[in-house]
Symmetry: C2
Subunit: 341 residues, 2 copies
């Protein structure tokens, strides 16, 4: 063996060993993923239903196999991915924005619904009804450019805190659902948010929190107007509603933005019922899931009588049709990322 | 050397050689890609401008580097990705659908604009104006479920032929633009269609043709209504317009569907002007391109005076701002995929 040949052989050998070690590590890591993908879920029926569904649609040759491009998964946001009590977090943003803008609007001190919003009078706000809510939305979600609105939301999301937990709102997302989102993506799914909440509101903070890009975040939308300001094009947010992405509006939002029927959907309230029906109605294997808030101690317990996130008809349909119902208290080891062990 | 050791060594050696050969092939193929990514484009200034832009935004450490998630590229469809003369292809679909449905509508024989549509009387159709066009659109794009409409379009796209070339319409896409779409995707771009044409119409045929999934195809949209038919959920297409994705509507469509400002946009007419302005107004390196139809022999030659795909103001702005203008006759070696060498 000449020295040169030895060096070449040694080089090839060491490359070969690198290759083998790499392959072994890869196999080992796949094994880790397979066992640890949902560590915050208790080993109960719910977790098994999720894993069994994912296995069926991703196993090549399985009768339920779905090609990756069609593995569309949709998730409601409020009450499904993050907390929604005592009121939707976006409503806290609205109240905070009314306060922040009030110096420019002295008339708000004496005009409803702004008067109640400024004093935190929830009864007064309730009395202002849908008309009052629309006025508050118009005052805080319109009249500025899309860029300016995103800046306002980002600033709020980085600083505002929930009145009960004193956490910033983006820390009140559900750790088990973060794991589920990642688990689905690791299995070739494309994950979307389909929420009744404001699309522009969510897009301003949700991408790093959920790992979902803005083009996969669908929500309620206002009209936009393209115009030139000082020679630069802007999109002005108008108060007119373009889509209420809730209830029967969710399948509409899905069709407009995605154009494919999802194979998996997760919600938590009657506002998600039509999205779940739409998803479940497709051919082949389909997964329809509900998060049932059963944990008064670690989160909140509410369903049929709740004013926020009411779960009544959809719970009946889930029972009748065998949809998966997550029992938060029994199924989840932890609620928020900060509780992770 | 024992026999077992020899076998192991041989195994490792052969794996090592496989690894090396693989690495060499990969390096070789990258080289092929780098030189051959736009083979149907002549080696002129336009091609260089495209390649130079892509290099700048994808080179790590470059001051113009853009992370992959933000490499959004948007393309108009009619006249940019496929032919649009003598009228938009979707209008041929409308005329064919009116004929196909006429047995169920005997009154159409004597009522405008249907009478002119049935007899192919273009002057009569022109006289019916926008109101007539809206009636034809409502009759052919609404009143059925989303699934039924997609089936009608697919059937049409597979069989209908262009009156001049006698090709099916999906063969009248531009080979150089197909290469550009793929080249961008190979460089980490996410490619979108943003067209004035019907979103549901395009989604029914465009995915295999352009390699773009339905959720990245944005177009003009009608309202949808979720309802139950025989116990199954459907989306009914309504005649009301939800978005005219043309002119100032294009940045609106982009914001609603993508939520990020593109870094590259390609159009061919004044209907793309605002999309190009919106794209060009972002910080950092931006690419705004126009396809100029200059080839009367191989395709069509038209711009400022054309009734379809009028290119007038946007051409002036392109000149003033240094946008890239593709001269179809000079820049493209071939027009359609069938002419590929």
């Amino acid at each position: 063996m000449t020295s040169r040949y030895f060096v070449q052989t040694h080089f090839i050998l060491s490359k070969g060993i690198q290759y083998l070690v790499g392959a072994l590590l890869l196999a080992f890591c796949s094994f880790c993923f397979a066992t640890d993908s949902l560590p915050s879920w208790n080993d109960a029926a719910t977790k098994q239903q999720i894993e069994s569904f994912v296995k069926r649609v991703t196993t090549s040759g399985s009768p339920d196999f779905v090609e990756p491009a069609k593995r569309i998964a949709v998730f409601d946001n409020d009450g499904t991915l993050w907390a929604e009590q005592p009121i939707y977090s976006e409503f806290f943003f609205v109240l905070d924005q009314v306060k922040a803008q009030s110096p420019k609007h002295p008339e708000w001190k004496t005009t409803e619904p702004f008067k109640s919003a400024l004093s935190g009078d929830m009864k007064g706000l309730a009395a202002a009804g849908e008309k009052g809510a629309a006025e508050l939305m118009a005052a805080t979600h319109a009249g500025m450019t899309s860029v300016e609105f995103a800046r306002q939301v980002s600033q709020w999301a980085a600083t505002a805190r929930h009145p009960r937990t004193h956490r910033v709102f983006t820390e009140m997302v559900y750790q088990p659902m973060l794991e589920l989102l990642r688990y689905l993506r690791d299995n070739g799914f494309k994950t979307f948010i389909v929420s009744g909440g404001g699309q522009d509101f969510m897009r301003a903070w949700a991408t790093p929190v959920y790992g979902i890009p803005p083009e996969q975040i669908i929500g309620s939308q206002g009209e936009l107007k393209f115009e030139m300001q000082d020679g630069k094009p802007v999109l002005l947010k108008l108060p007119n509603v373009a889509l209420i992405d809730d209830g029967p509006g969710k399948p509409v939002g899905i069709e407009r933005a995605i154009g494919r029927k999802p194979i998996l959907a997760f919600g938590n309230s009657d506002g998600d019922q039509q999205m779940l029906e739409w998803t479940a109605s497709g051919d082949g294997a389909r997964f329809a899931g509900l998060v049932h808030h059963t944990d008064a101690e670690r989160e909140w317990a509410y369903d049929r009588q709740s004013k926020v996130g009411k779960l009544d008809k959809a719970l009946d349909e889930a029972t009748a049709k065998g949809w998966t119902v997550v029992d938060m208290k029994k199924d989840w080891k932890v609620i928020y990322p900060s509780e992770k062990q």
